[in-house]
């Protein structure tokens, strides 16, 4: 099983045009590397947010200030509304803004900026202006000791907001590729990073520049009896669940949605037509969670 996964990785890395060299990275290192790549190739790119200058509370921005300077990597005041507003203003000039919201649980003061300003910028200007270079990066998800305000998964709120995209990686290889794709996508993207995986998820990641496609789900394993859909950290749980099911003779097709909104309905539909059964599992509350949208479709 592991060998199969590794060779699939290598094949994919080559097929996306990644340069040969690979390196073992955890999630925060892969994200760090992705940001470094983006900053190198795009002189307009800046990174800002609370505590990003010294490296960030999860070390995602380690070394970036030293490499790119104070003008491109800097702290903001403790004000998510301001971080978002500033990011929107910066991106509106055609530049790349990589804005960090320290915990997804704190994104709500920025909600008005994201929903009423960022998401509608292109539409309300009739396409004359856009926020192509805008990405909000934020750690999300349960970590065991997070409590009310360091554990949330707010993807469903943003999946209800046309004009933005919502993306979440399950592992380091996925993270670097999806982050680079998100930064370069010509629409504002909310990039949710499962904090439980920052240290614990480790794999070989291409050292070069590569991207993974947005709005495209990834079939992690094929099966015939049931389609299992998830995203982010939950896939670790689902992998174990599928292993248990397989030991009981149930063949599972496991799919990582990757982009939650707009989601890859085609891949899920194709799978469910084959298996006839669908299970969606996510950390966020069940009612009106994104699983509800998938189930209803």
């Amino acid at each position: 099983q592991q060998t199969k996964t590794m060779s699939v990785r290598a094949t994919r890395a080559l097929s996306t045009g990644a340069h040969g060299a690979m390196k073992k990275m955890n999630l925060f290192t892969a994200l760090n590397d992705g940001m470094r790549t983006a900053m190198k190739h795009d002189p307009s790119a800046v990174i800002f947010g609370e505590d990003v200058a010294f490296g960030g509370v999860f070390r995602c921005t380690m070394g970036l200030r030293e490499e790119f300077g104070n003008d491109r990597v800097f702290n903001t005041p403790l004000c998510e509304q301001g971080i978002a507003g500033f990011a929107i203003g910066y991106a509106s000039t055609g530049k790349t803004a990589i804005a960090e919201i320290q915990f997804a649980d704190y994104i709500y003061p920025a909600f008005d900026q994201i929903v009423n300003e960022a998401a509608k910028f292109r539409y309300r200007s009739g396409g004359e202006y856009d926020l192509g270079g805008l990405v909000f990066r934020t750690p999300c998800g349960a970590v065991g000791h997070g409590g009310h305000y360091h554990s949330q998964s707010p993807e469903a709120y943003f999946a209800h907001t046309p004009g933005v995209k919502v993306v979440t990686p399950r592992s380091p290889y996925e993270a670097k590729g999806l982050l680079l794709a998100s930064i370069r996508d010509p629409n504002p993207v909310i990039f949710l990073e499962p904090k439980a995986l920052y240290r614990t998820s480790v794999e070989e990641v291409p050292e070069g520049d590569y991207m993974l496609p947005l709005e495209q789900a990834d079939v992690m394993r094929t099966g015939t009896d049931v389609t299992v859909v998830g995203w982010g950290a939950q896939l670790k749980v689902l992998e174990k669940a599928c292993d248990k099911a397989e030991a009981m003779g149930v063949s599972c097709e496991l799919i990582d949605l990757r982009t939650i909104y707009p989601w890859d309905k085609e891949t899920i539909e194709k799978s469910v037509r084959k298996t006839g059964r669908l299970v969606v599992s996510h950390e966020a509350p069940k009612t009106s969670g994104f699983g509800a949208e998938i189930a209803a479709t």
């Binding site: 800097f74 903001t76 856009d130 046309p162 004009g163 995209k165 010509p186 629409n187």
Partner: protein
Amino acid sequence: STLEAPIVFFCRNNGYAISTPAHEQFRGNGIASRAIGYDMPAIRVDGNDIAAVSIAMSKAKEIASKQSRPVLVEAMTYRVGHHSTSDDSTRYRSVEEINQAKESCPIQRTKNFLIKNEWWDEESDVKLRETERRSVLKAIEVAERRNHPSPVTDLFSDVYDKLPKHLEEQQHEFIQHLEKYPDHGSAH
């Protein structure tokens, strides 16, 4: 302030937020007094005096660019009209209050100032008003003759750079719906 950005923040204080007067919005010395908390200099100016506002803005710009810091300008005025066409402001303020404010009308004061300096006269004023009035009415006429936006395209375009699959599907469903019920709207 923290980024030492040269910005002029212009705040027009017209005394009301729909029906809620400033006294019910905040206490303290207007908006200008808030600036000090952010280490910003503030200038309060008679917002109905065109020359005063021009001078205040020049000064604000000079401070902002020379000292590389944000500056706040609070222009004092009064909302003579209703908040919107759905509002009847006599329901929450007196007609006397409105009429008194009209005496400070910035357009009238500018006119008086120009005439006093002999840069303008009453006859030219009447002529200009008539020309502008006709021009605005004509523009309204032209605008009203324009085609309404097409919901079939304009509800879906420019939400993203490219129409994503799910919006394309929704657009298709919408067109089918309109074709099924042509009396309720056209797909074209």
